[in-house]
Symmetry: C2
Subunit: 350 residues, 2 copies
Amino acid sequence: MDCNDKCARIGVVGCGVVGCGVISMLADKRDFLRERFGFNYKLCFVSDFVRGTLISDDGLDAAAIAHTLERDRSLHAMPGVIKEPMELDRILETVKVDFVCDMTPTNYETGAPSLGILRSALSHGASAVTCSKGGVSKDMAGLKELAAKHGVALRFESSVMSGTPLINMARGPLAGCEITRVRGIVNGTTNYILTQMEAGMDYAAALAEAQRLGYAETDPTGDVEGFDSAVKVVIMAGEFFGRHITIGEVDRTGITKVTPAQIEAARENGRRIKLIASAEMTPQGVKGSVKPTEVEMTDPLAGISGVTNAVTITTDDLGDITIVGPGAGARETAHGIVTNILEVCGCSGN
Amino acid sequence: MDCNDKCARIGVVGCGVVGCGVISMLADKRDFLRERFGFNYKLCFVSDFVRGTLISDDGLDAAAIAHTLERDRSLHAMPGVIKEPMELDRILETVKVDFVCDMTPTNYETGAPSLGILRSALSHGASAVTCSKGGVSKDMAGLKELAAKHGVALRFESSVMSGTPLINMARGPLAGCEITRVRGIVNGTTNYILTQMEAGMDYAAALAEAQRLGYAETDPTGDVEGFDSAVKVVIMAGEFFGRHITIGEVDRTGITKVTPAQIEAARENGRRIKLIASAEMTPQGVKGSVKPTEVEMTDPLAGISGVTNAVTITTDDLGDITIVGPGAGARETAHGIVTNILEVCGCSGN
C-alpha cells in the first residue's frame, strides 16, 4: 500500500489512555494527514476486554469514540457495542484490516497480552504496530519472521522513548550506517529522581516527589530497580543488532543504592550520575547493561534532566548521534503509533 | 526506483575532500549496502573543473578513483580522463544517470556553482543530492518545482549539520507532526570558540586555537559573524515551513562581541551563551535569527560542547525533539549524501 489516496483500514486493541490517544489523534489529524500525504483511513474496530468492542466494516466515528472514552473510560454507552470480552482472532474473522494497533499494558514476564495480539494480527495478514514492550521483548525474531511470512510489517517505535524517533531514525536516516552501540537514559522516572537528588534531595524524598507527581508508581520497583530500562535494552538489542537476549541476561543495577555522597563525589569530578542503559555489539555477542554511571559533563547525556529521555547511537559514519525527547505520555506514544502506520504506508515529507 | 536489486546510476560533481569521501564510501560499502538493502549502483561519471572528468556508461571503478584522488588530489593520472573543464549539461547529454551528487564549494551570494548543477541535473531527469548550501538557499522552491515537474527528487540532508539526520528526521519519523520552530547550534566553529571561552580563554585566543586546529578559516568572518548559521536558517525555513527568506532577512549577530564578562554573568545565572540559530513560524511569517543567547542549563543545547551541532525541533505531538551530532567532516557529509540516495531508492531498515 502506498500513500496515494488509498485507505488504511485500522483496528485498535486496548482503549486505555494511550489507545484513546491514538483514536483521538487519528480523528484530530484526519484532514492534516490527507492534505499532506493523501493518507486516508477507516477505523474498522476498537476493542478492549473491559471497555467493550465496536466493529464496522465501513469505518467508525473516531471523534465520537475518543469523546466517549475520555468521558466514560468505557465504550458501553456507544450504540452497537459488544460488552463481552472479544478475542482478536474472532474480530479479525469478522473484519479485514491493514493495521492492528496494540496499546495494551505490558507484562514483561509472559509478554501477554501483547505477544498474542501481535501474533494474531500478523497471522491474519495485518501489519502490527505496538507500544507494548511485552511482545517484542519476548519474541522479536519470531514476530519478524511471522510478519515476513505474511508480507506485512511489525513496528514498535513507541516501545522505547515513547514516540521520540529512535527506532525509526535508525531504520531511515541512519540506514546506511553500521551501529555498534546504543546507550542512554530510557526511563524518565529514575532520571527525575536522580535530577532531584542532584538538587539536594535524598533518594526517599525524591521518590516520594516522583510518586506525588505521578511519574513513579506506588510500587516503584519496575522503574527504580532498572527492570523497565532492561526490557528496553532487550528491545534495542533485537532491533539494532538482530540478537535476542533475555531480560535476565541484562547486567542490571537500579538506583535504590545511589547516595547523595556518590552524587556529590561525581559532581566534584565534573560528572553526573545517570542510569545508563546500553546494548553493545562485542565479539562475544550483544552485551546489555543497566547501571548508575558517572557521565562526563561533555557527554550530551549529562545534560538530560527530569523525565526527558535520550539515547546515543554510535555509528561507523557519523560517530555518536544523540536523540533527546519525551519518554512517556499518551500523545507522545500515540505519535509513535501513527508514525509507524504512515511509514509502512510510504508517507514521508514533501 | 525501489531498492529491489535495481541499479542506481550515480554521477558525482566536485571531487574535493567531500566528493572523494562519497566515492570512497560508495566503494567501501558496496557489499554492505547490497546485502542489507539489495542496493546496487554504477558510478557513471565523476567530474571536477580542476581535477578532471571521467565518464563510463558501464560504471567506473570507485575504489580506484578514491585511491587516486586521495593520493594526487586529481584525476589526471587516470586512463580516459578528460582534463578540460566540462559542463554538467554536456556530461548528461553523454550519459544517463538517476542521481547527480553535488559536492562543490558554496558561494552564498550567487549560489554558484551548486544552483546551476542542481538545475541541470533535475532538468535532465536525474535526482539531485547536494551538501552545498548555495543552491538550495537561493532557490529551494524553484528547485523543488523543477524536481516535481521531472518526477525526480531533490535532497540536501548534508547542507545543515552535515550527515546528522535533521531534515530526514523531519521528513520521516516526524512526518506526522506539525513543526512550529527549529532552533539550535548549527556552526561548530563558533560553538568551539564559545566552549573555549567558557573554559577561560578570551575571544582572540579561542579563535586562534580554532584556527590552529583547522576548525576556523584564516578569514573566519563567515563563521564568527553568523553568515554560515544564517544561510542554514534560510534552508531550514524553506524545508520545514515552505517559506523563502533571504539571508539578509535573518536577524543576525555573530560572536565577535561576546566577552568573558558576559559568559561569566551567564554562568552566575546558571546559563551558558550559545550561538542560537532559529527559524520560527509566526502569524507574521517565518522569523529567522542567529544570535548569542543565554541558554538555561536544563536545555539540552546548553550541554553541547566543542564542534558538535544540535538542533531542537518543536512539534505539536512530541514537544521538543533534539538531535545531536557532528556538524562537519568529509565522512559525515558523505553519509548524508549516500543516505539521501538510499532514501530516494526506498531502502530502509529490516
